[in-house]
Structures are given as structure tokens and as C-alpha cells.
Amino acid sequence: MSQYILRRLMIAIPSLLGISVVLFVVLALAPGDPFSELATNPNVPPEVQAALRTKFGLDDPIYLRYLHWLAAMAQGDWGFSFVSRIDVDTLILQRLPTTLYVVGSSQLLALLIAIPVGVYAATRPYSLFDQLANTFAFIGFSLPTFFTGILFILVFSVKLDWLPFVYTDVPGSGIPWMLEMIRQAIMPVMVLGLFQAASMTRFVRSAMLDVIRLDYVTTARAKGLGQAKVIVKHVMRNAMIPVVTLIALQMPAVFGGAIVTEQIFRIPGIGSLLISSILANDTPVVMAVTFVFACLVVLFNLIADVLYGWLDPRISFR
């Protein structure tokens, strides 16, 4: 097992290197530069722009810049943001807790809805409950988050005036602070969570249906086991394998933030950092965020593989 993990990790290194080369080249070739705002400003002489470009190494050839980046990265130096002139890791760590809180809660909400609803719907296929769950799931994932987000804002902030729609770092501590933090997260968490729940429900339901018809389930029932026990112990455990894959592959998204939703509610998360850095052509930040993202995808793929073996011992590690 540990040998398997080690082997997988060894394979991960070259693929991450490959990913970093691709990312770097794409970013270097992308149009625009971080000092675009200076270009239209008559106060800023061209020499200063040129000096900044040289200082930040923007005039070096791509391969040199990549090697610099790689060497620095190997020593744990993530570089600094051209726009903020702050270290990139500081910038990311500043944003990470908010992203984990908001996106994490929404994933949790999605799971709490999707698993019971999906399982229950699968046990009674084509019943009224199943039909309703399906209808809502289809509506749910057909509506993009930017639409539901604005809809929520119009209803709950503008019309009813119940919830704030600007997510901000409230100063303070204690119970009132916690309540305020929860209150302002309600809308984004709902928007994201319901969207995720919709597709996940469909997934859980079909995974359950695949298993529920297998012979060993009929055998279990024939032995006189109760319905609940059959579903939970025999069906769910096996049906969860593809679901685990789905969840594991969605974990990087929890860290990566939800770009659209973060923009709408002004949530200071990784997603909004990524989008504003892309707009500002702040390459070191874009590079770092996307690279972290790539690492997470690789890591969670590995975790999913390990979990398969635990859920279904027939899948052995080789």
C-alpha cells in the first residue's frame, strides 16, 4: 500500500513539472502586461515603465523566467505579486480561510442534501418523491450560479432586506460576530450548495440504482435482512465508490474557490483573487494559484484511489 502511494507520488512529479511548463508558457504568451494602467497615465514616464519591466524580469526570455520561477519555487519562494508587490503565499493564505469556509460549507450542504435525497429516490424509482427530486435536480443544474446569485440578491437583499449581499470581513469576536459571519454567508452558500446538490443528487441516485439491482442485494433481502440494513450496509457502501470519486475530484474546487459566486457576493476568496489577477495580468499570482490547483487535483486523485481500496477490497493496490 505505502509502496503504491510512493509510486503514484513519483509519477506525480513529472506530470506536475509538465503542467507548470504549460501554465508558464501560456501565461507568458498571453497578451497584456501588469503595468497597463501606467501606460495611459501621462504622469508616468516611459522610463519608469521600462525600469519596472526590467526589475520584475519581464523582458527576459521565457525559458529563463521559467527556470527562475522553478528554482525559487523549489526553495519555497512563490514569488511576489507584480500588482500588490506582496509575496504570493501571503496573498493566497489571506484568501484561503474565506474560501474554505464558504465553498466548504456549500459542499457540505450539497452532500447533506444529495446523499439522503439520492438514496431515498433510488429506493423508490419513479415514485412521486423521485419525480420531484429529479425535476428539482434538473432545474438546479440548469440554472447557472450567476443567475441564481442575482435572483437571491434581488429577493433577499433588495426586496425583503433580510440579508446583506456584500460579504466582508466583519471585525469583532464572540457570538454576535459568529452570527454575522453566518448571516452573510447564507446566500453564497445556498447558491453554491444547491447547484452542487442538484448534480450530485442525480449522481447518487444512478449509482444506487446500478447497485440495488445486483444479485447480492436480492440475496441479502432473501436472507431476511431489513430494508434499512440492506440499503445502508450492502448497497450504499458499494454505490459510494463513484460518488467518492466525484467528491474527491471536487475537493480542489473547494480550495480553488468559486469564481463566479465570489465575484457576485464580493467574497475575498481564491476565486476572486484568480480572476482579478488574470484581469490585471498579475502572472506570478495566476501561476501560483493555478499550480496549487493542479497539485490539489493530483493529490485528490490519489486520495480517491486509496479510498476505493478501502470501500471495495476487491480493488487491490498494485
Binding site: 497578451p31 497584456g32 502586461d33 503595468f35 497597463s36 494602467e37 501606467l38 501606460a39 495611459t40 497615465n41 501621462p42 504622469n43 508616468v44 514616464p45 516611459p46 522610463e47 519608469v48 515603465q49 521600462a50 525600469a51 519596472l52 526589475k55 511576489f80 505579486s81 500588482v83 500588490s84 508587490r85 506582496i86 496573498l91 489571506q94 484568501r95 440578491i153 437583499s157 433588495v158 432586506d161 446583506p164 449581499f165 456584500v166 466582508t168 470581513d169 471585525p171 465575484q263 457576485i264 464580493r266 475575498p268 476572486s272 483573487l273 482579478s276 484581469l279 490585471a280 495580468n281
Partner: protein
């Protein structure tokens, strides 16, 4: 004649035979505005007035929180690194200049004890030096005293090329010396009519020597104070998250009586302009939102029964269509739009004039800009003393058609004009931005009616406005026939604004397209006028020179002005901000209060 009259009047004010207000009133009557009249008085040797301050609170603090929404959040807090107004606005909460432009466009002392004038010995008659007296007893947020050393250091810091400060142009070409602890003298190489540039406004913020001394030049990025500003401003720094949030608290030691009013300040970033307007005007979650360039129709709808309103500040920002004088489709020595070429169609002044006649400012204002724009024929729209009265604009498809006819462009079978078998076809580019694409459509329609086939092109703003040498789609490369965007006027003096189109500033491959004269227009009279204005200390002659520059651009139709744009801000009904079209929105933050 006007010249002599004015001189007489200035003398009268000096001798006390005419009061300042009467002078300003008469100036307004002849078409000038108060800021201009005051600037004339100042340079004419009369000390500058300060506008009566409407500030009401009678004690410091007690105003609760002030919540500001900047839809592009500040990304750094060193005013000398600020890449755009958002950063200047953020830094300005904590740092202060010697003086700033107030609501009426008067120079208002902040860290200065008084505004230099000829009377108080501050201004030299030859305009080659200025003496600033500093306010005594001012403290940095860390308790250290503020002194002349800090001012001198700020000049050293910003003018050092290795620091790569964006304010370096402001501080180059001068020396700053300490006279005593509370007096500094600025010496200019040449007579400098616009002396109120260094240490005034956004790039004028003074930084503490004791915290930045080690981080001058090449080490400028490493200063911890870049992230944790220690200034003299009305609010002290608490927290900064780039692009997201700035928090500050009241400075109990602030050097102005009864100020500031608010106990804490929060500047939240992110999102978009429409939702920022909504959070201020409709739901009242925030007190003030910056730069609400949203269609007027949307704002009017939000304002109905809302908790806030829009405010407009008049500056000199201009949205225009620039005409390419070189040929974008012919390559010479690996360079398109080369100075060695002439535009095959647009080098004919009649065609350019026809184009100018095809921009329907009235419709553009009505449909797009509403209260936020003023139709204009001028490139230079303020301050009033510099605004030409000789120009006018007109929208007429008939006249445009007649001009094109005259120029030999005859209508073809498809309605598009041709000459020597060549179609009259123009490529019209701009950045991607709702109002701009709508303006493009309006102009294209009028052109079509006059027989010009206009092809529209829109480029992502981050590319269009970049200084990327390798990208052919930037505004400076100008590989199109006409292009449209806005140039902000960052200070109430036209020198920088007008110097851009001097022929030495033509954007070429040689200067990596860093020259700001992108229409590649060369006019000897213009060059001469700009050069003369740079050192002209007689304010009236100087204003005349800039008016001449503007008129030359108008006659040649180098820039077809579309809209004089106003700054649009959203503000809660109770907050009383102090906004000036000539300053950053946070420049007079110490004077903001809430009417309860």
C-alpha cells in the same frame, strides 16, 4: 483686450480696491470658473482663497463607521507605487500631501501651514522656486514628529529612478532642500508655472523618512511599510487585504480640529459597478461607492425610493475618437502605422472633417451617458480658463456627404463611396466596454448613411491599454483607422495632458510604442505652443497657448471629442462627502461627515 482688463482687475484685487468675490464673479461672467479665477489670482500675485468649509461637526469622532465600496479594490498602499486611482485612493486614507485641491478647485493646505503666494514670500516672481511652510506639531501615526526632512526624503525617494516610483515624473527636474525643520524650498530648473504639482494631490503624499530611509532605490519593494502604512492622515491603519479590504480607525492626534468625524473606516473592494451602486443607492449597505460608470437609465431606476443618490464631479476627462495619420495597412521596415507612411484616406482633411460631422453627440449623451457626460467639441475641457470658446461641433450627415463628394469619394452601387476603385472603408477600434460598443454602433450607423463602411473592432481592455510591445492590439500601436477611448486628466493643469501630442512623443517601434502621441500627428505650431506653455509664467498667455493647442487639434480633427465625462459616485443620503473633479475621491476625507 481681455488680457489688459484682467491685469487691471488683478491689480485692483491686490490693492484691495476690488474684493476677491467680485473678481471671481466677473470671471465667471466672462466664462471662466472659480478655480480658474483663483489660480489666476494666485499666479497674478494674490494669495489663494480657501473655500468656506461646510464641515459641521464640532468634535472629533462619534460618527460611527464609514463604509466605502470600491469595485476595484486597492491593491497596494504606497502612493508612489500606485498603479491607478484605486491605489491612490486607498493610500490617501493614511498618507497626506502638503495641499490638495478642494471641492471648488482651490488649493487647500493639509500638511502645509499656508499656501505659498507672492505676498507671503512663498512664490518666487520668476516661478523658479517655491517655499512651503509646514504645519507645526503634526505627528506620524507612530508618534514621531513630521518635519521638513520627511518632505525632502519623499522627493529623494520618488525621484530616484531605481525606486521606480510612478510619481517620478512629478519629482524629476527639481531639487528640494530643507530651510529649517518646518520649511522646505523647491527649486525648478526652468520657470514652472504649475508649481503646485510636487507634494500636492495623489502623487504628493509625504512618506515618513524614519520608516522608508532604508528602502529607497532598489530595495523599495521590501519595505514592510508598503503594506502597513504609517502616515499623518485622519485615519490610522488596522488591516489591509489587497484587492479586498482596507480598515482604519480614527487618528485621535489628527492635526485638524474636530476632524475626522467617523470612528472607523472600511474600504471594501471587488465586484462590479452596478452592484456597487445597488449596495449604496438601493439597499444602503454601504455609504459611498466610487466610479459608477453605469448607464444613466440604470442609476435613475435605482434612485427611485432608494437610500442614496448619485453625485457628479466635473473634471477634465475626455472620451474621444482619435484619427490615425499614418497607414495601418502598409508595413515599412517591419512597422505598421509607420511615420514614413501617410494614411491613404484620412490624410485628406475633408474626410476627417466629414468624420467629425458624423458623431452624433446628442444621441450618445441621451442613450448612453445621460447626466455623466457633456457633449463637447474640445479635447481640453477644464479648468475653464483653458477651455476654448472658438470651437463648435455639429452633427450633419448631409454636410459630411457633401465633403466626401468634394474629396472625390463617389457613391458606388452598394451605397459605399469609392475613389479610384477603392472603397471608403474604415476600421474603428476601442476597448470592450458597454457604453463604448453602443457609441460605436451609433457612429457606424451615421457613417453608413454617409456612405462610409465602418468595420468595428473591440479589444479586451487589459490588452488595449497595455504597454505590451509585442501586442499589435494596444491603443498605442494603433493598427486601425480610428480608435476610441478615454484619457483622464489627472490634475487641474493641462501641461501633461497637452504635452502628449508633441511630435517628439510619437509612438513608434523605436520607442517601443511608449510615446503617447498615438495618432502620430505632427504639427509644428502645436509643438511650439506646447513648448512655450511649459515655461510661460504669465497665466493668461499660458492659457491662450493651451487654447491654441486645443484649437489646432480641433481644426485638424486629430481627436474627435465625443463626451466630456464627469466622475460619477454613489452616496448615501446622509453622508456629506467632499468631492472635487480635480482630486481623488478620498483626498478630502477629513471633511466628510454624516448629517443626522
Amino acid at each position: 483686450m481681455f488680457d489688459n482688463n484682467l491685469r487691471g482687475m488683478i491689480d485692483k484685487v491686490k490693492d484691495g480696491r476690488m474684493d476677491r468675490r467680485a473678481f471671481v464673479k466677473r470671471m465667471i461672467a466672462v466664462g471662466l470658473t472659480a478655480p480658474m479665477a483663483n489660480q489666476i489670482l494666485a499666479i497674478g500675485g494674490v494669495a489663494m482663497a480657501q473655500s468656506p468649509n461646510p464641515y459641521k461637526p464640532t468634535k472629533r469622532g462619534g460618527g460611527g463607521p464609514l463604509k466605502l465600496l470600491w469595485w476595484q479594490g486597492p491593491t497596494l498602499l504606497n502612493p508612489h507605487f500606485a498603479t491607478g486611482t484605486k491605489d491612490q485612493d486607498g493610500s490617501r486614507i493614511f498618507y497626506e500631501p502638503l495641499a490638495s485641491w478642494d471641492v471648488d478647485g482651490h488649493l487647500n493646505p493639509i500638511l502645509a501651514a499656508e499656501i505659498p503666494s507672492i505676498q507671503n514670500g512663498g512664490l518666487a516672481a520668476d516661478a523658479k522656486s517655491v517655499v512651503w511652510k509646514l504645519k507645526p506639531g503634526v505627528k506620524w501615526h507612530d508618534g514621531k514628529p513630521f518635519s521638513a526632512d520627511d518632505v525632502v526624503f519623499t522627493w529623494e525617494y520618488a525621484s530616484d529612478p531605481a525606486t521606480a516610483a510612478v510619481s517620478s515624473a512629478t519629482y524629476a527636474g527639481m531639487t528640494v532642500e530643507k530651510v529649517d525643520d518646518l520649511t522646505v524650498r523647491i527649486k525648478f530648473k526652468d520657470p514652472t508655472p504649475f508649481w503646485a504639482n510636487a507634494f500636492v494631490g495623489a502623487y504628493g503624499c509625504v512618506i515618513p523618512k524614519h520608516l522608508f530611509a532604508e528602502f529607497k532605490g532598489g530595495k523599495s519593494r521590501e519595505a514592510l511599510t508598503n503594506l502597513k502604512p504609517v502616515g499623518t492622515g485622519p485615519y490610522k491603519f488596522i488591516e489591509f487585504k489587497p484587492g479586498d479590504l482596507i480598515r482604519g480607525e480614527i487618528n485621535q492626534d489628527y492635526h485638524m480640529a474636530n476632524r475626522p468625524y467617523f470612528d472607523t473606516i472600511e474600504m471594501k473592494g471587488g465586484g462590479d459597478a452596478v452592484s456597487a451602486a445597488r449596495a449604496v443607492i438601493q439597499t444602503g449597505e454601504y455609504d459611498f461607492a466610487w466610479n459608477i460608470q453605469v448607464e444613466d437609465e440604470v442609476l435613475l431606476r435605482l434612485e427611485k425610493g432608494g437610500k442614496g443618490k448619485t453625485l457628479y464631479a466635473v473634471g477634465g476627462d475626455i472620451e474621444f475618437i482619435a484619427v490615425n495619420f499614418t497607414d495601418p495597412n502598409t508595413e515599412v521596415d517591419g512597422e505598421r502605422s509607420s511615420m514614413k507612411t501617410k494614411h491613404p484616406i484620412l490624410s485628406d482633411p475633408r474626410v476627417r472633417q466629414a468624420l467629425a460631422l458624423l458623431v452624433d453627440r446628442d444621441s450618445i449623451k441621451k442613450v448612453i451617458y445621460g447626466r455623466a457626460g457633456r457633449a463637447t467639441a474640445n479635447y481640453l475641457n477644464g479648468p475653464e480658463e483653458f477651455v476654448s470658446k472658438n470651437t463648435k461641433w455639429e452633427f450633419s450627415i448631409e454636410k459630411a456627404s457633401a465633403l466626401l463628394e468634394q474629396a472625390g469619394w463617389k457613391a458606388g452601387s452598394d451605397g459605399i463611396r469609392e475613389k479610384d476603385g477603392k472603397k471608403l472603408k474604415l476600421l474603428y477600434q476601442t476597448s470592450i466596454n458597454g457604453p463604448r460598443q453602443k457609441t460605436q454602433a451609433i457612429v457606424k450607423q451615421a457613417c453608413q448613411k454617409a456612405g462610409i463602411d465602418v468595420e468595428l473592432k473591440s479589444v479586451v481592455a487589459s490588452v488595449f491599454f497595455s504597454s505590451d510591445v509585442a501586442n499589435p492590439d494596444t491603443y498605442a500601436h494603433f493598427y486601425a483607422d480610428i480608435e476610441m477611448f478615454q484619457i483622464p486628466m489627472t490634475q487641474p493643469d493641462p501641461a501633461l495632458h497637452m504635452r502628449r501630442y508633441h511630435s517628439r512623443n510619437v509612438a513608434t517601434k523605436e520607442n517601443k510604442w511608449q510615446g503617447p502621441n498615438f495618432p502620430r500627428w505632427v504639427n509644428k505650431d502645436y509643438d511650439a505652443a506646447v513648448d512655450a506653455a511649459d515655461t510661460e509664467i504669465d497665466p493668461i498667455k499660458r492659457a491662450d497657448l493651451y487654447i491654441k493647442c486645443n484649437d489646432l487639434m480641433w481644426q485638424d480633427n486629430v481627436m474627435i471629442p465625443v463626451m466630456h465625462r464627469l466622475a460619477v459616485e454613489a452616496c448615501s443620503n446622509t453622508v456629506r462627502p467632499a468631492l472635487s473633479g480635480w482630486a481623488n475621491q478620498t483626498d478630502n476625507l477629513q471633511d466628510w461627515y454624516r448629517e443626522t
